[in-house]
């Protein structure tokens, strides 16, 4: 399947409207993908499902016919914005459309490491800082012009331009030599990027880290022969982005009805070879009609299936459900300090209400996330153990069990730490004997948000902790948690979720200088491990694995936050569709996509 963009870490809100993140619906292949012979899911007796029973590759039934057209349903309750260029887009729906007609020059394997089978190949210098890229000779834009090193350089120049209005300029770019000088206007060119010849580009990075190989290279060129003469600030609203977008992917955009549909035809000149299908229609469908569209064959593939609708539709006869582990986790965080805006780092507060690690451990032991996953999500979300989700099989430590549900352990921990019920009302006081009331905030969205948060409150009450819950809308929630660095002092505990990027490095979330370190937690050992994880030594996989195993254990010991649930993504595919897979490194590409009959199979 086509490669998504590579934004490193992003947030998942329970509200579907959030457009900040991009393409987080792709996840990696889960280890034991097994299914029964006819490709349908088997429901277990208890009404629960497990991600291990899903495959991420479609079972092919029947012979491919020549050509054919398919319909892709873009499931979204908001329309797509129509900023159809990798260098400028910001909403996830736009990325879903981009996937079909444009792609990155580099591809990656199932461990998210760049491979040499993409549109461009790469070589790394001895010191690991200089990358030489060679774009394939047969890689051409849809208008026939070759994709050149100039185009690739141009993408960097536009994103680094102070007038640039998209969200891409980030630490990946500032890590390029000379980029900050260029961005601040001190230099006219980016000294670290050199066009060697028409198809060869050389980029020198300031710091060599294994993260470079897992998504930190900007691999989306920008067609200079089209956008070269435009003012940078005008590109994103130009008709060349919105009405006649260009790429070099397997399909070409034929027409766009703003906000509702896109028709694409095959790009005969595609560098991997002519695609099997004649064309693709992408149309926006509401999450409330997804099931009907699938049953009637109105769509063959969809971008995202609402997992809560799966139990009722698991036996839909005309589709096969593919599944994968999502690159995301839900977690509960403890506020342990504030943000020091002057020095741009966290300011831990040793007297914080949640400052006692035993209290935090007890709160983790007190909740039964296995039950939450089964009751609320039919097993399609399940107990999380560490802060590196199993979507990163190389780094997720299977042997680390986290902290299991055990209210007795929780009570003992609290007793030993001095949290005792001194006035006999069934509620524990803090070690000094003062009343302890913990303020917990959670996000609204969906039917289960509130009962789920209430469940946590009751679990904590069961071990004698008084927790006050407040449900907040997305914007208000992050305002209080400290999105802008101004943490609301009334918040003690919060429930949120992170989508993680393809690179495993968590320093953007837990480093002392990270604004998104919402717990405002600092720890020397943590800093050391995060640093080692992206050091040159970490190019050695075993070393990096050890570092992150140790880090996962450290987070279980220190509990600045604790993970609650991992999640599955499901993708129903019409039976007539062949050669389709979700997840990364499957080596099945959109140009391989084919159908076994002219019209979609409909449900019986």
């Amino acid at each position: 399947m086509g490669k998504n963009n590579k934004s490193k870490v992003l947030i998942l809100s329970l509200a579907l409207l959030l457009a900040a993140c991009s393409g987080d619906d792709e996840a990696t292949k889960d280890s034991g993908g097994k299914k029964d012979s006819d490709g349908k899911q088997e429901q277990k007796d208890d009404g629960l499902y497990s991600i291990e029973d899903f495959s991420n590759v479609k079972t092919n039934e029947g012979e491919a016919i020549d050509g054919g057209n398919i319909t892709f349903g873009l499931v979204s309750d908001t329309v797509f914005e129509g900023t159809l260029n990798w260098n400028f887009y910001s909403g996830a729906p736009d990325a879903e459309i981009l996937n079909w007609f444009d792609e990155g020059l580099l591809t990656w394997d199932e461990n998210y490491v760049y491979t040499n089978d993409g549109a461009a190949t790469y070589e790394v210098s001895e010191d690991g800082r200089t990358f030489t890229f060679k774009i394939g000779d047969n890689v051409n834009w849809h208008d026939g012009e070759p994709v050149t090193a100039e185009d690739w350089l141009f993408a960097h120049e536009v994103i680094g331009n102070p007038e640039y209005d998209g969200p891409r300029y980030n630490s990946d770019f500032t890590n390029i030599e000379g980029m900050e000088e260029y961005n601040s206007g001190k230099a006219d060119t980016i000294s670290g990027i050199e066009v060697v010849d028409e198809k060869t580009l050389k980029i020198t990075y300031i710091e060599s880290t294994p993260s470079l190989l897992t998504g930190s290279i900007w691999s989306y060129p920008l067609a200079k022969h089209i956008f070269g003469d435009m003012a940078v600030a005008d590109i994103s609203s130009s008709p060349e982005v919105r009405e006649n977008p260009i790429g070099f992917g397997p399909f070409k955009v034929e027409s766009i009805v703003p906000g509702e549909s896109v028709t694409l035809t095959k790009n005969e000149d595609y560098w991997r070879g002519e695609p099997n299908l004649d064309g693709v229609t992408i149309k926006v469908i509401s999450s409330s009609t997804v099931v009907q569209e699938l049953e009637t064959g109105g769509v063959d593939l969809i971008s995202e299936f609402p997992v809560d609708q799966f139990p009722d539709n698991a036996d839909m006869s005309n589709v096969e459900f593919l599944g994968a582990v999502d690159r995301a986790y839900t977690y509960i965080g403890f506020k342990l300090g504030t943000w020091d805006a002057e020095n741009n780092r966290v300011q831990p507060n040793p007297d914080a209400k949640m400052g006692d690690v035993e209290l935090r451990k007890a709160m983790w032991h007190a909740v039964d996330n296995t039950a939450v996953g089964e009751r609320f999500y039919n097993g399609l979300r399940w107990n999380a153990t560490t802060l590196i989700p199993p979507s990163h099989p190389e780094f997720h430590d299977d042997s680390n069990e986290g902290r299991a549900y055990d209210p007795e352990v929780a009570k003992t921990l609290l007793d030993d730490a001095g949290y005792a019920d001194t006035d006999g009302d069934g509620i524990r006081e803090d070690p000094e004997g003062n009343p302890l009331e913990i303020n917990f905030i959670s996000m609204t969205g969906g039917d289960t948000a509130e009962p789920l948060a209430q469940y946590y409150v009751q679990s904590w009450e069961a071990v004698g902790l008084k927790v006050n819950l407040e449900m907040l809308e997305f914007n208000t929630f992050y305002d209080r948690v400290g999105n802008g660095g101004e943490d609301n002092p009334d918040v003690d505990v919060y429930q949120a979720a992170w989508g993680v990027g393809i690179d495993v490095d968590p320093s953007g979330l837990y480093g002392a200088e990270a604004l998104y370190n919402f717990p405002r937690w600092e720890n020397e050992e943590n800093e050391r491990l995060l640093k080692e994880g992206r050091s040159e030594e970490a190019f050695d996989l075993a070393f990096r694995q050890d570092v992150y195993d140790e880090w996962q254990q450290l987070m279980v010991d220190e509990v600045p936050v604790f993970p609650t649930l991992y999640r599955a993504v499901l993708s129903p595919v019409n039976d007539r569709v062949l050669n389709y897979a979700i997840g990364d490194g499957t080596e099945i590409y959109l140009s391989d996509l084919a159908v076994s009959q002219d019209s979609p199979v409909t449900a019986e």
């Binding site: 409207l17 009805v257 149309k283 009609t289 109105g298 999105n483």
Partner: protein, 320 residues
């Protein structure tokens, strides 16, 4: 008459200014801004802060208001942060969709309401009337969201008579006859779903008005003079009963550009309702304020229109 129109128009000007001020202050009071959703650790917070500065989000509200109002007077509503395009272009494109949908709904609403209202009023307390009032009660009680889903399920998916999403078949060339037919075809089901629900209040109005009018003295007089039953109803009763409907019409115009989030969402029809709601939740201020102003303006003009229509139809209530 003209005096009235001029006077009413003059009154609307301070109304609009107060409205725009209110909208702006309320928008500022909401937590978060367009960049709140951009929670991505790989983006330097300093970059986000620089974007805020460039967009003027750090200025005090009155400075932002003055900047904004300056633009508005010149017809420039600013740039949508989310769509990266001028707000006026964005609203223009959506408004056309919503306008067509609302117009179709309005026509269907009156096509249903007038005959049903007349029958129900003329033959009140018969079985026919009870059936019609029964329908109106169901209409009052049925949530639009559920009803539209049922309609879509039955006529769109089960019977396959109508397309199930979008405003036009993907790939048809604008300007052709085929394009027009496809547009109409896509309009019918959402418009009908909405009309069947919204029409019930008009049916009820018309019914009670007819029942009221037909007992009036002048109708008795008309009958006494030997006018035929159809003449009595068509010439005397109906004319006098349409008064409240005419008054209502001005307000219906307001609804024309508002769109409904439910219908648009279910039918995947990009219109104003969806734009409004998502602009609020994603804090796309420039779009949101422009829309509220536009809706407010439509409400004010709608009220004005209603007053004018009323005074045209019924000289007795002409305001002195």
């Amino acid at each position: 008459m003209w005096k009235l129109i001029v006077r009413r128009t003059l009154i609307t000007i301070p109304q609009i200014i107060v409205l725009s001020l209110l909208v702006f202050i309320l928008a500022q009071a909401m937590p978060g801004d367009a960049l709140t959703g951009l929670i991505d650790p790989s983006i330097d917070p300093a970059t986000i802060e620089a974007m805020r500065e460039r967009l003027g989000l750090n200025n005090p509200w009155y400075v932002q208001y003055i900047d904004w109002i300056k633009g508005v007077i010149q017809g420039d509503f600013g740039q949508s942060f989310r769509f990266k395009m001028p707000v006026s272009d964005l609203i223009g494109a959506r408004m056309i969709n919503t306008l067509w949908l609302s117009l179709a709904t309005l026509i269907l609403t009156y096509l249903i309401a007038i005959p049903l209202g007349i029958i129900s009023g003329r033959f009140n307390d018969t079985w026919l009337d009870r059936a019609i009032t029964g329908y109106t009660y169901i209409g009052f009680a049925a949530p639009l969201f559920i009803f539209a889903l049922v309609m879509l399920f039955v006529f769109g998916f089960q019977l396959g008579w109508f397309p199930t999403s979008g405003s036009v078949t993907p790939g048809t060339t604008p300007g052709t006859f085929e394009y027009f037919i496809s547009k109409v075809n896509h309009l019918l089901l959402p418009a009908l779903s909405m009309a069947l629900i919204t029409t019930v209040s008009t049916v009820q109005y018309l019914r009670s008005e007819i029942i009221d009018t037909k007992q009036k003295d002048f109708i008795v007089t008309a009958r006494a003079k030997g006018a035929s039953e159809s003449r009595v109803y068509n010439r005397h009763v109906l004319r006098n009963s349409l008064l409240p409907i005419a008054a209502f019409f001005g307000y219906e115009i307001t609804g024309l550009i508002g769109g409904t989030i439910f219908i648009e969402n279910i039918f995947g029809y990009p219109g104003m309702g969806e734009l409004f709601l998502s602009s609020i939740s994603l804090r796309d201020y420039s779009v949101m304020t422009a829309l509220v102003l536009l809706f407010g303006l439509a409400a004010i003009i709608g009220a004005l229109l209603s007053d004018i229509i009323l005074s045209l139809v019924d000289p007795r209530i002409r305001i002195k």
